[in-house]
Amino acid sequence: MNAKLAVLFFLLTVGMAMPILLGIRSIPDIQLPNLHTGYQPEQPIPYSHRLHAGVLNIDCQYCHSGADQGRHATVPSLDTCWNCHKTVAGRTKTAKESIAKLREAYMSGEGVEWKRVHNNPDFVYFNHQTHVRIAKYIDADGNISDGVDCQYCHGDMAKNGVAKQQEQLAMGFCINCHRDQNERHETANLPARAPVSACDACHR
């Protein structure tokens, strides 16, 4: 076989293999279909994040007060709602009805059975405190901020009325961020706060 042919073969082979490899490479960037993204169940009380977090600009952790204290961000207990709504009666008809429902649930002690929107599977351990209070988030430009923004994982809740899952929250979502952050922590010389990307961080 002459040299020209050899070069031709090599180029052909690589030519055939490269698109396949590049195809694989681009896959993590394509959002594979996921059952949960866009999940927005009907809630017993159509609580509007757009109104409370958006228009009224209430801090997330005013209600989800567990987020910096422990594993669960916690759905607020009814007394948190009632704190304001004993005086705030609502303007629109829907609002009035909803607040009436809340009043009923609180006064009777029945409570409200919300539908859980963000569900990690049982085999995933996730700790809000670690992310909200302990972690440092370093963006692509190297700016360090305390804690990961709620929006990073939950999307902009103020965009929605009733809570909706906006990000995929599958393992790829988590681990890619962990690994990026790990590198950036190394660069920023913050190794002690680098997120762990070992399996046992979440699976234990």
Binding site: L35, H36, Y39, P41, S65, G66, Q69, G70, R71, H72, T74, V75, P76, S77, L78, D79, T80, A105, Y106, G109, E110, G111, V112, E113, W114, K115, R116, N119, P121, D122, F123, V124, Y125, N127, Q129, T130, R133, I134, P191, A192, R193, A194, V196, S197, A198, C199, D200, A201, H203, R204
Partner: protein, 1003 residues
């Protein structure tokens, strides 16, 4: 960890929550609802996202965040030693019990490194107490023998009437608490009698001291002070009086780390192989009937003139040498005996007195209150009952029908008592004979107080709201005797009593936070004088005739103790650490005796004897036990309960294979009851085959290490000459590798196990199971070798005789214990072979297993040289829903078909790191502890960061005794061991190595 909670129980919860919870009826399902509300993250059911409901509290109590665990101090009531505990309470339910690091009984310095934070030790029984709390088989409300469930008011009315007239007797176990005794005192003031007894009695010690020292008390033994300990059948590392305390103290004298170079000596004379005997430097096998004679001879050698001792099998020079050792130890010597014969105890007292040990190694002034039973009172009670003079009997916290040698007779006599009331956790053998059954709270849901040692007052507080319609026993008594406090919560009664009598101005809050108040400094230091006259006929103990018959020895089992833990699945499955056969007790015999008796392992035999003129027998399977005295058969107590109820494990209900007929009648029984065979002195008996046999659920089938360098050991002498004695195996360099090595930049977790300290008790095993949601699987599965324990204790019988395919033939072997958990190898063979990367190495040096990635090829387990991986052969679940409340929510329950293994308590590591980060500091050595290291009574297991040069683990890596098991296959484990050093003359095999080394040096 520090106790970071409010100083109170849930009765101080905000009124709203309390109100709300009270509205809910107390049935089990409603209980689930309450906790479900409290636990925001608790997964109720369902696997699709659409089904998950989250129901927040209506009013959130201040200071409690869902999903965050809080620690509450309390007192362990697993046995009468009353160790201090910390309950880890999460979302209103205890999920783990650990030793209280501050408790004088069981607090310990971690790794004996005085700078490190302290941890609290606890034995396996203490660790397993959650089972009792959540087991729904206990009484869920008051009952009448015939009418079944009744209202409390009805029971109260009947009991109040009964307490008023006639001779009222309250029969209990040891009750030491100040407030508790105050309540009982009130009852006594109304004319009632209080009789307390211990199923496994130590009354002989108190009685002997009453004669020889004029004080009827059990002294507090201080093994930490002793340099020479001689034990005659006292299993102080296993079950005797206060085992955790004794083990912790004893181990401080066995420590050769960080420059210490002296060790205490332990010499054991015993019939059966006990945990203490297994840890002895020198062990002699004697029958129970020879014990007195050896004691007499030892006393004679120490200067007593008691006349010639009876016949025994111990060579005279051994005793001579021992006497010399004791003499030179002087007041640092200690002789103890577990005998129920007062005369033998007196001989002991004489020896200890002669050595001058009172005040140093044993303290009669600050006496132990851990065994207060009075056998004479009990005997009187039996007589009174026989005579029919007892009109009302209240049985509380004891089970005489089961655990008296003549329980049948007690049952009969109960018929002569007109009113029988039981304050009880379950309808056990005694309670089910009583007319009224007052359902009592579990130890973890009630207030109580104790005084385990004179001056040390401890508190027990509830970790959970009552699960069912039960009541504190003291409240019952107060109600029935129509006391002024009858409508108060017992907590308030207790608080008032403590404020008046115990606290001395200290705040109640701090006492609750600490869990105890130590007033022992006020104890008198003067020991009572020895009264030679009190010795009486003690020397007669030396001439007990050996009848030549098979001697029956019964002993308290490590796991079930006197039988009160017979329904505890964790303890049933862990098995007695010496015997290591789960789910039954056994007739243990030495191989030679077995041959002589013509029985084989697994044969069910009937052991019968005449005990104090009474015919007694017990049906159990046979098991060989090397090291047991010839001509003896040993059976453990605590098994053979008939009214304990079934145990439900991962495969369903456990059933007794010994007696299927009983099962057909609905009686669940595991093993045989050996209490009837318990006598004061040696019991001669016989065994006969029943013709049946069972497959024994052995945890380990092979006891010899086949000369392999796995558990390395040496003698103190050799170690002093050469610090790496026994650990001088030549290994190829581990640094050569064709691959670049991985670097561990941050933490690099590791563990060191001091084999010198490990006594093989198995506390780590149960602690691990509770912490890590490890299932129990039952007899059949254990027989198949499928027990799930993440950490196992390998016991190797040291033996020079050649391999015979099964067990050692040596009749008096040395035993070594080696905890074996995942070694977290740097070059882990398991990781390479997993096709789906379910197991890989973390950047902190741990071998991690992602259960949800595992597809269950079992290749990793096959390729593990240490065989520490556990496969979920079936779906092991808690068939009782309330048992799920004992699960640790910080890690998953593994489904069937996946491999699991020790994770070095990843959840605790992350928690520790989180806590350090919250305080903006680095992780301090000792702040993160695995469950096994935390509870280890002797600090044999130490955990830490190998990259932190100051950590215990990193420092011990440089110890010449440090070695990795199977280092020659270059797995580079993160778990290393320290050579076991025995304080006895070197054996030939050990010397040989030494000479080789010298030869090398000369060249």
């Amino acid at each position: 960890m520090e106790i970071q909670t409010q100083n109170d129980d849930f009765s101080d919860m905000p009124a709203e929550l309390r109100q709300e919870a009270e509205q809910v009826s107390k049935s089990r399902r409603d209980f689930m609802k309450v906790t479900g509300m409290a636990a925001m993250g608790a997964v109720i059911a369902g696997c699709t996202a659409e089904d998950r409901i989250v129901k927040p509290l209506v009013n959130k109590p201040e200071g409690i965040t869902p999903g965050v665990a809080y620690q509450y101090a309390s007192t362990c009531q697993g046995c009468s030693a009353n160790c201090g505990t910390l309950m880890k309470v999460r979302d209103g339910r205890p999920v783990k019990i650990e030793g209280n690091n501050l408790s004088p009984i069981n607090g310990k310095h971690r790794g004996l490194n005085m700078d490190a934070p302290k941890a609290g030790a606890l034995c396996a029984v203490g660790q397993a107490q959650l089972w009792t709390l959540y087991n729904p088989d206990r009484l869920q409300g008051p009952r009448h023998k015939e009418d079944g469930e009744v209202e409390w008011s009805k029971l109260d009315a009947a009991a109040s009437a009964a307490v008023k007239g006639g001779k009222v007797v309250l029969l209990t176990g040891t009750i030491s608490g100040s407030s508790a005794n105050a309540v009982i005192g009130k009852l006594k003031a109304k004319g009632a009698h209080h009789v307390s007894y211990d199923a496994v009695s130590r009354y002989s010690i108190a009685k002997a001291h009453a004669d020889t020292h004029g004080k009827s008390a059990v002294p507090r033994y201080r093994f930490a002070e002793a340099t020479v300990v001689v034990t005659f059948d006292a299993d102080f590392l296993g079950t005797w009086i206060s085992p955790v305390e004794h083990a912790r103290d004893w181990a401080t004298q066995r420590d050769l780390k960080f420059g210490r170079d002296s060790m205490s000596r332990l010499v054991a004379f015993e019939a059966r192989m006990s945990l203490t005997g297994a840890n002895a430097d020198e062990r002699h096998r004697i029958k129970d009937s020879e014990r007195g004679a050896v004691l007499v001879e030892l006393a004679n050698k120490l200067g007593a003139n008691l006349g010639a001792a009876g016949k025994h099998s111990v060579p005279a020079d051994v005793i001579e040498k021992l006497a010399d050792e004791l003499k030179s130890a002087g007041k640092r010597g200690l002789v103890v005996t577990g005998s129920r014969d007062v005369r033998e105890q007196k001989l002991c007292n004489w020896i200890n007195h002669t050595l001058g040990a009172y005040g140093t190694t044993l303290d009669l002034a600050a006496a132990s209150h851990q065994k207060l039973g009075n056998d004479e009172d009990l005997a009187r009670l039996l007589k009174d009952m026989e005579a029919g003079s007892v009109s009302t009997l209240i049985v509380w916290g004891c089970n005489p029908v089961y655990d008296l040698p003549d329980g049948e007779k007690f049952k009969e006599l109960m018929g002569k008592v007109s009113n029988t009331i039981a304050i009880t956790l379950r309808a056990d053998e005694t309670a089910s004979e009583c007319t009224w059954l007052a359902a009592s709270d579990d130890a973890l849901e009630s207030w109580n107080d104790f005084e385990p040692v004179k001056g040390l007052h401890t508190l027990a507080q509830p970790g959970v709201r009552r699960l069912w319609d039960t009541r504190n026993g003291y409240s019952c008594l107060l109600k029935w005797m129509d006391d002024a406090d009858k409508n108060k919560e017992y907590r308030d009664v207790l608080k008032a009593h403590w404020e008046a009598n115990v606290l001395n101005g200290q705040s109640w809050g701090s006492a609750v936070e600490m869990g105890f108040v130590d007033r022992s400094a006020a104890n008198s230091k003067t020991q009572p004088d020895f009264r030679p006259a009190g010795m009486g006929d003690a020397k007669a103990a030396g001439s007990v005739a050996d009848t030549g018959a098979l001697e029956v020895t019964v002993y308290e089992s490590y796991n079930l103790r006197d039988g009160r833990h017979a329904v505890n699945g964790w303890l049933q499955e862990m098995a007695d650490p010496m015997v290591r056969v789960s789910w039954t007790n056994l007739a243990l015999m030495s191989p030679t005796t077995m041959e002589a008796q013509g029985v084989a392992e697994g044969d069910i035999v009937e052991v019968s004897a005449d005990v104090d003129g009474r015919k007694a027998s017990c049906k159990v399977p046979v098991m060989r036990q090397p090291g047991q005295a010839e001509g003896t058969v040993a059976i453990s107590l605590g098994y053979g309960r008939t009214k304990a109820g079934p145990i439900v494990h991962g495969r369903g209900k456990e059933e007794d294979a010994v007696d299927p007929d009983l099962l057909a009648e609905g009686v669940y029984r595991i093993g045989g009851n050996a209490f009837p065979l318990m006598g004061t002195t040696a019991v001669g008996g016989s065994i006969s085959k029943t013709g049946d046999s069972i497959r024994l659920a052995k945890i380990s089938k092979h006891d010899s290490q086949e000369g392999r360098p796995i558990l390395k050991q040496t003698s103190l002498e050799e170690w002093k000459k050469k610090p790496n004695a026994g650990n001088d195996q030549e290994l190829p360099s581990a640094d050569f590798t064709i691959w670049p090595k991985w670097e561990y930049k941050g933490h690099k977790w590791g563990m060191t196990v001091d084999l010198n300290a490990c006594i093989g008790c198995g506390a780590c095993q149960v602690a691990c199971s509770v912490e890590n949601n490890v299932p129990i699987v039952g007899k059949e599965e254990v027989w198949r070798r499928r027990e799930m324990h993440w950490v196992r204790i390998d016991a190797y019988y040291e033996d020079d005789s050649p391999f015979d395919g099964n067990l050692t033939k040596n009749e008096n072997p040395e035993v070594g214990f080696q905890p074996m958990m995942c070694q977290h190898c740097e070059n882990a063979p398991c990781e390479t072979v997993c096709p789906v990367i379910a197991t890989s190495h973390s950047e902190e040096g741990l071998n991690v297993q992602a259960y949800n990635r595992c597809i269950g090829t079992r290749y990793c387990a096959n390729n593990c040289p240490y065989k520490v991986r556990r496969f979920n052969w079936f779906r092991y679940e808690h068939h009782n829903l309330t048992m799920n409340l004992a699960l640790n929510p910080d890690l998953v329950v593994r489904s069937r078909g996946v491999m699991e293994k020790c994770s070095m308590c990843a959840q605790r590591i992350y928690e520790g790191k989180r806590n350090a980060a919250l305080n903006n500091e680095d992780v301090k050595d000792g702040n993160i502890q695995t469950a096994c290291a935390q509870t280890c009574p002797t600090d044999a297991i130490m955990f830490g960061d190998r990259n932190d040069a100051k950590s215990t683990v990193a420092r011990l890596e440089k110890d010449p005794r440090n070695y990795a098991v199977l280092a020659e296959i270059n797995t580079r484990p993160a778990v290393t061991y320290l050579t076991k050093v025995r304080n006895r003359p070197a054996k030939k095999s050990e010397l040989a190595l030494e000479h080789d080394a010298h030869a090398h040096e000369e060249h």
